[in-house]
């Protein structure tokens, strides 16, 4: 009996050691480990690349830089030297953070804001729902509710504005051909990898100027946060010896000028009216019922108006509005058909036979409330890959712009399809179906995750052909997660993949003809 007791004590001791020793580690954000950007190719011909909205770089004002022997430039150099005499740990951390790249970091900041604001409004006491208002953004519910279509559009505008701003900056860089401070003055240290790119105007400041201006429109409650990031980035360039203040001011100004084209477009692209109104929501029901089909109803309690039913009317980037209708897939199975019943029965099967593996896949791809949405997930996937490529800033911007224009246009085509057919969720048709993640508040056909993922995979596979089927495999997993999660039928998923790939092809077509080449 004594041995018995000894064994138990030994077991207990090791158990406590196990429970205690695995305590706590600081969480390491994988983006913190990204190395400093050190482009394999500076893409010196980027001034010839095809822009999105900019037609002529010479319409923008970028004054000639101060001569490098002018008192103003010498003062700018002294500012750098002053910082470099005594850099604190937190200042070095700022340098390390931003050195990974301006386009990358602003993309992450945007993903963060999307996640923060991706919250459906809480109901009024009478069961109706308030809507966010861009005119009064701080009132509850704050503007915006960055749901997937809103997010897709936000990523597209910010990325495209960054891209056009950088291409335009290359025009002026070549024009003025100013060397970096560490080239001009040997007493300025380069605390990041040296670049052969002319440094006036600063590419970092061009990116932040464009990003700030577009994000101010998209996330008006976050302006203080956004401006603080931009100021930090400017400081980083100075402290790192990469730019003098004059280069940053010129870059910021150019970025803002280019961004004005994008904010003007955003104000008139019909996204502002995408929420619809009660008359339209009712019309969607009656026109679907008139076709003899069961129509979608909200599965939320209290019932919530459908998410952005007129987002399908938003002006796309990669094709015209007529093409949206042309890409739209044919109708889903009739809700009265045996095929539809069979499809819903399959969803019920996955609902009732949820394995842990299926749940894992559902959770990995859920990207629901409070997340950066499926387009944000594809930005994260792309960023992890692009980091390995040692892209120049301009190629980073170009590739993310291609991805995000594809995502926005996929959202437009998908939302057009959803509200054209106004097809019910499997859970609505058979309430026995329980879902493994939150049920989205919009029609079923076709799957948004599938559209977004196939569009992203198509352009990413074109950009990174050496990845083989990696992105296509991921897209298929994302799409199937919606069937496993009992959110969608197999038809929703398969048709969504096909349509998304078709949208992605337009991005590929653009990439083949924008003068940037493959960059690999």
């Amino acid at each position: 009996m004594k041995n018995y007791s000894t064994y138990i004590r030994l077991f207990a001791l090791s158990f406590f050691v196990l429970c205690f020793a695995t305590c706590k580690k600081d969480i390491v954000d994988r983006s913190a480990k990204y190395p400093a950007l050190n482009p394999a190719n500076e893409d010196l011909n980027a001034d010839t690349w095809k822009t999105v909205l900019v037609t002529d770089p010479t319409v923008f004002t970028v004054n000639a830089p101060d001569a490098t022997n002018s008192p103003a430039y010498v003062a700018d150099l002294n500012e750098i030297k002053g910082y470099q005499r005594n850099l604190s740990t937190s200042q070095l951390a700022i340098i390390k953070y931003w050195s990974a790249g301006a386009v990358l970091r602003w993309n992450e900041i945007l993903r963060e804001l999307v996640a923060k604001h991706n919250l459906p409004p809480y109901q009024n006491p009478d069961g109706s729902y308030p809507a966010p208002s861009s005119a009064n953004p701080f009132a509850y519910p704050q503007f915006p509710f960055s749901n997937p279509p809103y997010a897709a559009r936000a990523y597209a505008y910010v990325s495209a504005a960054q891209y056009d701003a950088l291409v335009t900056a290359y025009h002026f860089k070549k024009l003025y051909n100013r060397s970096a401070p560490y080239v001009i003055d040997a007493n300025v240290q380069a605390l990041i990898p040296k670049s052969s790119l002319p440094s006036y105007p600063s590419e970092d400041a061009v990116v932040s100027g464009a990003s700030v201006e577009v994000m101010k429109l998209l996330f008006p409650t976050e302006i203080a946060f956004i401006e603080q990031k931009a100021a930090e980035e400017k400081l980083y360039r100075i402290m790192a010896g990469a730019n003098v203040r004059g280069e940053l001011d010129a870059g910021e100004s150019l970025g803002k000028q280019v961004a004005d084209l994008f904010t003007a477009r955003a104000r008139t692209d019909k996204a502002g009216a995408a929420i619809g109104n009660q008359a339209y929501w009712t019309q969607l029901q009656t026109q679907t019922a008139a076709k003899g089909e069961q129509y979608w109803i909200s599965l939320e309690s209290p019932k919530r108006p459908p998410m952005l039913p007129l987002f399908g009317k938003v002006k796309p980037f990669l094709f015209d509005t007529a093409t949206v209708a042309a890409i739209r897939p044919g109708p889903p199975y009739s809700t009265n058909s045996p095929e539809f019943k069979q499809a819903v029965d399959e969803v019920l099967y996955f609902s009732q036979h949820a394995t842990r593996e299926n749940l894992q896949q559902v959770e990995f791809w859920a990207d629901g409330v409070g997340t950066f949405t499926p387009p944000g997930h594809w930005n994260a996937i792309a960023a992890d890959e692009f980091v390995k490529q040692n892209y120049s800033e301009v190629r980073w911007a170009r590739n993310l712009a291609l991805l995000n224009m594809a995502e926005m246009d996929a959202a437009i085509v998908c939302w057009d399809t959803k509200y054209f057919y106004f097809n019910p969720r499997p859970t609505q048709v058979n309430p026995q179906i329980k879902t493994l993640t939150g049920i989205p508040n919009f029609p079923s056909y076709s799957s948004g995750h599938s559209n977004f993922s196939a569009a992203a995979a198509t352009i990413l596979t074109y950009l990174l052909p050496d990845r083989g089927t990696k992105f296509t495999d991921l897209a298929n997993q994302a799409a199937m997660s919606r069937l496993y999660g009992a959110i969608h039928t197999r038809q929703d998923v398969e048709v969504g993949l096909t349509t998304g790939a078709a949208v992605g092809q337009y991005a590929v077509l653009r990439a083949q003809n924008d003068g940037a080449g493959t960059g690999n």
């Binding site: 009996m1 196990l18 205690f20 695995t22 409070g370 939150g438």
Partner: protein, 320 residues
């Protein structure tokens, strides 16, 4: 009268062990003033049902038509063993099933975390009718199945490895008692199924740091040889974490605070001393990022000696 006395010596009942049940994370064993004799074994089975309709989203109290009433049924297999004269060990293994009465979200079920508690009666001071006892205890728990923690509010648990240290003081005056204890729980990081999540910032990782917890537990009431009736107050506080933002989903690293009150009864039959019945109710009076749950619990346990002692220890609720 003599046989009654002998029988009393033979057995004791314990095991009113309220481990787990999602919200009520601390084991009752570890926070009471009761021991069992050396080489005695006390297996038991506890069933509890907890449910809530209202919850606190941060500090905002609300209900949710997409969840209705969230309930949790728990079956907890427990066993306590007397390791030494003043040292007992209790292991627990709960099976939990969760459900939401409204909305589309599927409930979860499965084994949760296996736990082990060691309680040491460090010191006892008896003066007249007063008796002071001091206990120290440690509890470790670790998930025993691959359940998802990132499935709030229907997750089976937080899927963390926990380590709790607790100090207990028990004061008995006649048949009335007061027990107070304080504990600190260290919770490990957890791994979730996605590799990016937003708390108050965006974190690109599948690792989540959970806040540690403190707990204070107070119990007072009547304690005789065969019967305990006690009132309980319990305060659990997250030492960190963040609030659920308006109309957002909960997350494992939320700041989860809870104050609850309850009553607990423990009873054994005079004619069949090995058997103990337990019943309790515990109700959350205030909270933060938690459901306002009510939990009812019932349990049965059976104690016996692993060896036929010539000298049976004299031990019971009161003696302890």
């Amino acid at each position: 009268m003599i046989s009654f006395y002998k029988a009393t010596k033979k057995c004791i009942l314990i095991c009113a062990c309220l481990i787990g049940s999602s919200q009520f994370a601390s084991a009752q064993m570890e926070n009471d003033g009761i021991m069992i004799p050396q080489n005695y074994l006390c297996p038991g089975l506890m069933y509890s049902h907890s449910s809530w309709t209202n919850y606190w989203e941060g500090t905002f109290k609300r209900n949710n038509g997409n969840l209705g009433t969230v309930s949790s049924n728990e079956y907890n297999l427990m066993v306590t063993y007397g390791l030494a004269k003043n040292l007992i060990a209790t292991a627990g293994l709960p099976y939990i099933k969760t459900n939401a009465s409204a909305g589309t979200l599927e409930g979860q079920k499965g084994l949760q975390d296996i736990s082990l508690n060691i309680k040491w009666k460090a010191l006892q001071i008896i003066t007249g009718k007063s008796k002071f006892s001091f206990f120290a205890s440690v509890t470790g728990s670790t998930p025993i199945s691959n359940y998802s923690a990132d499935y709030e509010p229907l997750a089976l648990g937080s899927h963390s490895r926990n380590f709790t240290a607790r100090a207990v003081v028990d004061y008995v005056f006649g048949k009335y008692f007061f027990t107070g204890s304080g504990a600190y729980t260290n919770r490990s990081d957890i791994t979730i199924d996605r590799n990016s999540y937003f708390t108050t910032v965006l974190i690109n990782s599948n690792q989540v740091m959970l806040p540690n917890m403190s707990n204070y537990n107070f119990r007072t009431g009547y304690r005789s040889k065969y019967f305990i009736a006690e009132a309980i107050a319990d305060i659990s506080t997250s030492l960190g974490g963040f609030d659920i933002t308006k109309n957002n989903m909960p997350f494992p690293s939320n700041r989860m605070n809870m104050t609850s009150v309850g009553a607990n009864l423990r009873y054994r039959f005079k004619s069949f001393y090995n058997l103990e019945l337990t019943a309790s109710d515990q109700y959350v009076t205030s909270g933060r990022n938690m459901g306002q749950s009510n939990m009812i619990m019932g349990g049965v346990s059976y104690i016996f000696s692993l060896k036929s002692d010539k000298k049976t220890p004299q031990i019971n609720y009161y003696k302890n």
